[in-house]
């Protein structure tokens, strides 16, 4: 495409400056989408007829939950590429995405609690989606812990990749089993807002916030992968000659 050999960017010394140039753009996009999304969520979206103003936290909660699941899949995909193609940079990308994904999962859980208290009167309910998010958090933490525990970086990459792929295969199974468990054990009438016919403005707000989180995740992952590259390639000449390293 365009006569460029794109694969040259799979080498850390080529990718490092490219990532550096991309980061400000993604931060800017994230800020723009966030401003638009927050404006819609606070000023434009109507007051909910049942829940009043407290429902507005869904504009953070739902996009965070979407991102937590999306980032897991992207992380597993990069880890898979790293394993299949024996590419260091792909594995570094997976390693860079994991903390962001874990934090979005934590954000989804905490905002879910903050929503749950006024709605259901409880900080935590064993609702199917919250429980699946909790297990997703454990999967992220397991991935991070495994890579942290193995000293040899290449072995850590490959072991983590296998774990991420096994987890990715398991996520649908876990989700459906938890959903079944929840519907069968449902005690008091805790029904999540089904509202498939959400007001168009609400949906637009959530989509804009989701885009904001997505751009932010890309920016942060690029920053983190640059740090990982510097750490892992610190003995190579090109790193030693970087201006930020030389001072």
């Amino acid at each position: 495409m365009l006569g460029i050999n794109w694969f040259k960017y799979s080498s850390p010394p080529m990718f490092y400056p490219l990532a550096g140039r991309m980061i400000p753009w993604f931060y800017t996009l994230a800020a723009m989408f966030a401003v638009a999304g927050l404006y819609i969520s606070f000023a434009v979206a109507p007051t909910d007829f049942q829940q009043g103003e407290a429902y507005r936290i869904i504009f953070v909660h739902v996009p965070a939950a979407w991102m937590s699941m999306f980032i897991y899949l992207v992380m597993a995909a990069w880890a898979g590429f790293g394993l299949a193609l024996n590419a260091r940079l792909s594995a570094m990308m997976a390693q860079a995405l994991a903390p962001t994904g874990a934090l979005f999962t934590l954000l989804a859980l905490i905002t879910g609690s903050l929503w749950g208290k006024p709605m259901w009167g409880a900080w935590w309910v064993w609702d199917a989606r919250l429980t699946s998010e909790l297990i997703l958090l454990f999967l992220y933490i397991g991935f991070i812990a495994l890579q942290a525990a193995i000293d040899d970086p290449r072995r850590a990459d490959r072991a983590g990749a296998l774990l991420a792929l096994v987890g990715a295969v398991n996520v649908p199974i876990i989700y459906f089993s938890v959903r079944w468990w929840n519907t069968l054990h449902q005690g008091a009438s805790i029904s999540m807002t089904s509202a498939p016919k959400m007001a168009v403005t609400m949906l637009t707000g959530m989509l804009l916030m989701a885009l904001a989180f997505w751009m932010y995740s890309i920016a942060v992952a690029l920053v983190r992968v640059r740090c990982i590259i510097l750490e892992r390639e610190r003995r190579s000449d090109w790193v030693k000659e970087l201006p930020e390293v030389r001072r």
């Binding site: 297990i135 454990f138 999967l139 933490i141 397991g142 812990a145 495994l146 525990a149 193995i150 072995r155 490959r158 072991a159 296998l162 774990l163 096994v166 987890g167 295969v169 398991n170 199974i173 876990i174 089993s177 938890v178 079944w180 468990w181 069968l184």
Partner: protein, 222 residues
């Protein structure tokens, strides 16, 4: 090919029988954990009966998980694992043999002992039968998926707890279906759907886990 499988199974069982204390420790852990819960929540039979499916299943899960580190550690330490990886026979098959032997000495005793512990929890008789059946269908999945975790953390420091962290989220569906089967049978409902899903989990694990474990072993050994 089946000669290699039989040889691996026979070897592992022989080694386990020489170290009977390892096997017994796992079993006693199961008994102790199951006995701790009534001490914690009180002896009232009705409440214990409600708690029994979950508690016994979690205890079985933890006992199985604790025995996982034994699966590959000894062979890794003395170099046998390297020979298995280099062998002309399929590593997936050799792994299957090891996991089967592990299930025979760690999973099957739990299946046989669980109904006895169920009596401590005042469970009715059909529930005891469903408990044994659910464990029979579920413990193979636990051994198979656990083997992946054991292989990934070979030789890593703190591997006992790390295996737990890696493997427990993957155990969640088996726990839900297993405990659900027993709970359903206790309330008079049919446990058939749960048991079918448990069997499905085990079959899926049987199809995919040995291969994933072989890949993990190659990563660990090279």
């Amino acid at each position: 090919m089946s000669g290699a499988l039989a040889a691996v199974v026979r070897r592992d069982i022989l080694l386990a029988l020489r170290r009977r204390s390892d096997v017994a420790t796992t079993l006693f852990f199961f008994v102790i954990v199951a006995s701790l819960f009534p001490l914690g929540v009180g002896p009232e039979p009705a409440m214990l009966r409600t708690l029994a499916p979950g508690v016994l299943w979690v205890a079985a899960l933890l006992a199985c998980m604790l025995s996982l580190t034994r699966l590959f550690a000894a062979d890794y330490a003395d170099g046998t694992l390297e020979q298995m990886v280099l062998a002309p026979q399929s590593l997936t098959l050799l792994v299957l043999g090891k996991v089967f032997a592990h299930w025979l000495v760690a999973g099957l005793p739990v299946v046989l002992l669980a109904p006895v512990l169920g009596l401590q929890y005042a469970m009715p008789n059909e529930a005891l039968l469903v408990l044994a059946l659910s464990l029979l269908l579920g413990t193979p999945a636990l051994s198979l998926v656990g083997a992946i975790g054991a292989a990934l953390t070979l030789g890593v420091r703190g591997s006992g707890l790390l295996v737990a962290l890696l493997v427990l989220p993957l155990y969640v569906p088996v726990l839900i279906f297993g405990a659900g089967a027993v709970a359903a049978s206790q309330s008079g409902l049919s446990a058939e759907a749960y048991l079918s899903l448990l069997g499905a989990c085990s079959l899926l694990a049987l199809a995919l886990a040995p291969w994933a474990t072989a890949v993990a072993l190659r990563i660990a050994v090279e």
